[in-house]
Amino acid sequence: MNLQEAISQLKLAVDALGEAALRDDKTPLGNAQALDLAASSVGIGNENPDVVIFGDLNHFHNFNKQHGVELGDAAIALVGSLIAEIFVSDCKAQAFRRSGDEFVILLSRSMLDRFISLVPRFSSCLLIVTEKAKKTSVTRETSMSFGYAIAEDEVGFGDLLARAEAACRVAKREGNGTCAEWIEELGSVESMRGRCVNCEADVTCYVPQRTESKRRALLCCPCCGMALAQ
């Protein structure tokens, strides 16, 4: 191999490394860094995405605690594959795993109806994991709910994502495989952290900023419905 060939191979390697740095390690989707790069194109017009969708696995904390981290990872991989198969292929969406079980999808508004019609497919995702050493094959069910926010002038990507996340909490209350749109009535939201008095999960809740303190005290754990110690 001469020097020129070595340089061109190293360039290929650098390109491959750059591409690898944007790919998620558990799913076929982009990672948080890829989302940061894509965020700048949201709401700028033309063919660019103008809907920000947030989704996460329902009761994931409990799922992980009950079945272990391997099954939790398999559940993340499963829904990541389904998002790629259903939304990326069918709705021409861009999809990313932001962290843990949190997924972000960027979509063109013209595909929103199609997206909404496909969401119920996430009401029950069947996970099959076989572990030879333990001679076990387990089947578990997982599900997702989604919230979305439509781009507006003078609303940054971070705020759109916070709106989508708040809408997702609303969708979760409506059930598995549901989808909710952020509307003005949800208002500006802020995150509040608390610990469930029953399962000890650290829970982040999103509440309207003007929520009275006595109503904040009524916040419940999404996993088991018990009160949160704030």
């Binding site: 190293l10 491959a16 490394l17 390690d25 990872d73 991989a77 994991v129 076989t130 050493a133």
Partner: protein
């Protein structure tokens, strides 16, 4: 390169992690490229692999096993190191997920490098047996 004789007495042979010969710079570049293009894309592992190749060291156990599975077209979802003598791999195949696990026998003569070589070979063996069972 590790050989059959390199494991402690009484330990069954397992294929060691692949080594990249580093006789000429071009071979190293080729090895690096191959590793980058076939290993599951985790930047940190690729970066570690770069260092290892340049130093003529074997890739880490995780990088080696990810590379092996990726070459077979199997997506690695998770690699779990459960202490020095045990490792677990979660991968996807035929719309399902599978876990293979390896426990190295206890022996006072183990070194970290030999342990990683043995675990690699044992996981490969487990994987092949698992795939045979599935198909």
């Amino acid at each position: 390169m590790a050989t059959e004789l390199s494991y402690p007495d009484g330990i069954p042979y397992r294929i060691p992690r692949p080594r990249v010969e580093n006789g000429v710079a071009g071979t190293a570049a080729g090895g690096l490229l191959g590793l980058l293009l076939t290993t599951n894309p985790v930047g940190i592992i690729a970066a570690a692999a770069l260092g290892n190749v340049l130093a003529n060291q074997p890739p880490s156990l995780e990088a080696a096993i990810r590379s092996y599975l990726t070459k077979k077209g199997l997506p690695v979802i998770g690699f779990y190191r459960l202490g020095p003598r045990c490792a677990k791999v979660l991968f996807g195949y035929q719309d399902q997920y599978w876990i293979i696990e390896s426990h190295a026998p206890s022996n006072p003569s183990w070194t970290p490098e030999k342990l990683d070589d043995w675990l690699y070979g044992d996981l490969v063996l487990e994987l092949e047996s698992q795939l045979t069972g599935i198909n």
